[in-house]
Amino acid sequence: MRVSIPSLCGLSDFRGFSQVAVSNHTGRLVLVMTKEELKGASEEEQQAQSKKGLKKAQKEAEKAAKKAEKQAKLAAEQQSTDEDDFAKDRYGVSPMVQSQEKLDRVLVRVQQLTPERADQLIWVRARVHTSRAKGKQCFLVLRQQQFNVQALVAVGDRASKQMVKFAANINKESIVDVEAMVRKVDQKIESCSQQDVELHIERIFVISQAEPRLPLQLEDAVRPEGEGDEEGRATVNQDTRLDNRVIDLRTTTSQAIFRLQSGVCQLFRDTLTDKGFVEIQTPKIISAASEGGANVFTVSYFKTSAYLAQSPQLYKQMCICADFDKVFCVGPVFRAEDSNTHRHLTEFVGLDIEMAFNYHYHEVIDSITDTMVQIFKGLRDKFQTEIQTVNKQYPSEPFKFLEPTLRLEYTEGVAMLRAAGVEMGDEEDLSTPNEKLLGRLVKEKYDTDFYVLDKYPLAVRPFYTMPDPTDKVDLEKIKAYIDSFRYGAPPHAGGGIGLERVTMLYLGLHNVRQTSMFPRDPKRLTP
């Protein structure tokens, strides 16, 4: 179908297509293709239609012309700006690092950006924490673990307008490589950890881009609960954090918590090794439940089934009978307890100790409590930065303890409770509220958060390691364990603590999931 359009154009006719070539004011030819279905039609129809069709086609052509104009304009602008962009090779998105080349470049840690490095040109790799454009400048905050520093891209002889725009549009959490001059600032930058310096960026490249929409914002994740409610700003609730654990772990608070937890493990190992203990690894797939059949996970084991260890108890004791004298082990513990409380996990890390003693089990208690005190002292002396960081979001009193550890007898605890008005029998077990009350009373009198309650009445604490004949435990399954006592076993004792609980109680946090990196409980199996 031939169409005539009132403009300068050339027309050509192809099967099923009509091409319209339009030229714009710069003389450029832009081709606009429209596809029309051709059906055989009579001349008369054609005639009648051609008028309507003419009008329609006219309108479409006008639209197309306008669109073409706009696009051409943009292209022209871009060309002109491209021409002006002298800093084109000083920014951009780098290709993925695939070890194609080895750059002999030293990357400085943000922690080391101090006034001593003023007026040095250095390279830094960090995450973009925030970016904010203001006219001819763009302010960025670059973050690396607990440390962050302010950076600035300004239009000048080193940076162009396009570069500033590019910097302002980098998505948050993207990892960037930055070459910048370190400059001292007169006024301290309160919002950053590096308060005395600022980076003036000369080159910026994106190494790994982040998606524009983050599931949670890091500023919200670090905000203390009360402050959030007061000012109407958001805080992130625990389930969202746990579902997006990777991002939540990037916050300064989480970094501090897990560094401290690593310190606990480290101090535990070092203290016990200095005391002459040997670290052992015990099997976690075992043939019989060690703490009672109720709270144990069963796994299929080829043609039979096996259990996940509830504690390393049986194997610790066998090691003592094997003449290792003093052992400890750090490893996972699995408890299939359907408790959804703030202090229960189905899988946690157990720090377990077992040792042979000479004449009195107090030797073991002294050793264990001394280990705990050394851990507390080590944390107090070497991890103050981390403790202060956690306190910013979760304020709490510092952890107090006595050296040597306070040891009260069960009867004294009962007497203290009775003096406070609780009625209980001499041989009665401590209920959880009574236990908490006793803790508070001890804190009031002795000002310590950690103490030992000794000499529980036998009626209250059945001797765990003795299998109960009425419990229907298949003795065949724990034959190896029983046998280890037949061939001479020294008197021994031991105990274990949960790593997550210790960290939680030391920092004054209220939920054990905050101190477990990827927590497991009856309702959570991922991430």
Binding site: K400, E403, L406, E409, V414, A419, A420, D426, D447, T448
Partner: protein
């Protein structure tokens, strides 16, 4: 004629006075008010309510009552005059003589009681009674160490020393200041009293015993008083008690914390007092004497050797 006849018993000419009033009450207004309030009595005696009975004369019993009232009033006035006179004599310097006569009388009347733990500390609840003392390692309470020694001689005391987490380290001498660890320390039940010394970053010495019943006791002087009572060193007559109290206060406030002038004055007083006798507060109370060197040690730059009060320990125990 009537069937039955009874001879008359009485004559028929007796005048019977028929009563005109059904119920009679005694006249309440005629009686005076209670005799304890003098004003009331005076008012009533002069007021319109003059006592009189049916005959219009004053009841002799009432008269006797009034007489008694007057007597009492007179005696009261006499007593008041006597007390005023005595008050005047007490404020004059000659009052010392009266005080000594009073104190000796008091001493003779008050029986000497042996201090009993249960009566002092309350009922035994079946567990070790623990005294907790929080002290700053930069100023160790030397007087308490001596008193602790006396306590150990009198009772079975379980002593422990702890270092609180607020203090980073403590010299080994301070860790062993309460003596070696008792052999029986694994069974706390075998002891009557616990003495737990905690080296802590506190501004003032602090003692806690029974938290629900007692507030913490602060200051070395006050803790020393508490412990001295446990040991049984507190004098029973008020004069000696007051004197020992005042020496303790002098030691801990003026000697330890006072200015140079105050210190010098106290040292002069101490010199004078110790020149008169070996003990500051008299024969009956030796323990204030050891407060003075304890307090003065706090000012000395180098902690001196333990004060030569070991004799005090043995002498104190003998009282």
């Amino acid at each position: 004629m009537s069937m039955y006849q009874v001879k008359p018993i009485t004559g028929s000419d007796i005048n019977v006075d028929l009563p005109t009033c059904m119920y009679k009450l005694p006249n309440l207004h005629a009686q005076p008010g209670s005799g304890s309030c003098i004003d009331n009595v005076l008012q009533l005696s002069t007021g319109p309510y003059v006592s009189s009975d049916q005959n219009g004369e004053v009841d002799p019993a009432l008269k006797a009552l009034e007489q008694r009232q007057d007597d009492i009033l007179r005696r009261l006035y006499e007593l008041k005059a006597a007390v005023d006179g005595l008050a005047k004599t007490v404020t004059t310097p000659d009052a010392d003589l009266d005080a000594t006569s009073l104190s000796s009388a008091a001493m003779m009347s008050a029986p000497k009681e042996v201090a009993h733990l249960d009566s002092l500390l309350g009922k035994d609840l079946g567990a070790l009674r623990d005294i907790v003392v929080n002290a700053n390692p930069s100023s160790p309470p030397l007087s308490l160490l001596v008193l602790h020694g006396l306590l150990c001689q009198r009772y079975r005391v379980l002593s422990t020393v702890h270092v609180h987490s607020s203090v980073s380290s403590v010299p080994p001498k301070l860790l062993n200041c309460l003596g070696p660890r008792h052999a029986d320390s694994y069974t706390r039940q075998r002891f009557q009293l616990g003495f737990t010394l905690i080296w802590k970053d506190v501004p003032r010495l602090q003692m806690k015993f029974s938290v629900p019943n007692m507030c913490p006791i602060e200051g070395q002087g006050n803790v020393a008083r508490f412990l001295s009572r446990l040991v049984g060193l507190e004098p029973h007559d008020p004069a000696a008690a007051t004197m020992s109290d005042s020496w303790v206060d002098t030691a801990f406030f003026q000697l330890a914390e006072g200015s140079g002038k105050e210190q010098a004055a106290v040292l002069r007083a101490l010199n004078a007092a110790l020149g008169r006798g070996p003990w500051l507060a008299g024969q009956s109370s030796h323990w204030p004497t050891l407060c003075a060197p304890a307090a003065s040690c706090r000012r000395a730059p180098v902690p001196p050797r333990p004060p030569p009060m070991s004799s005090a320990g043995s002498r104190g125990a003998r009282t």
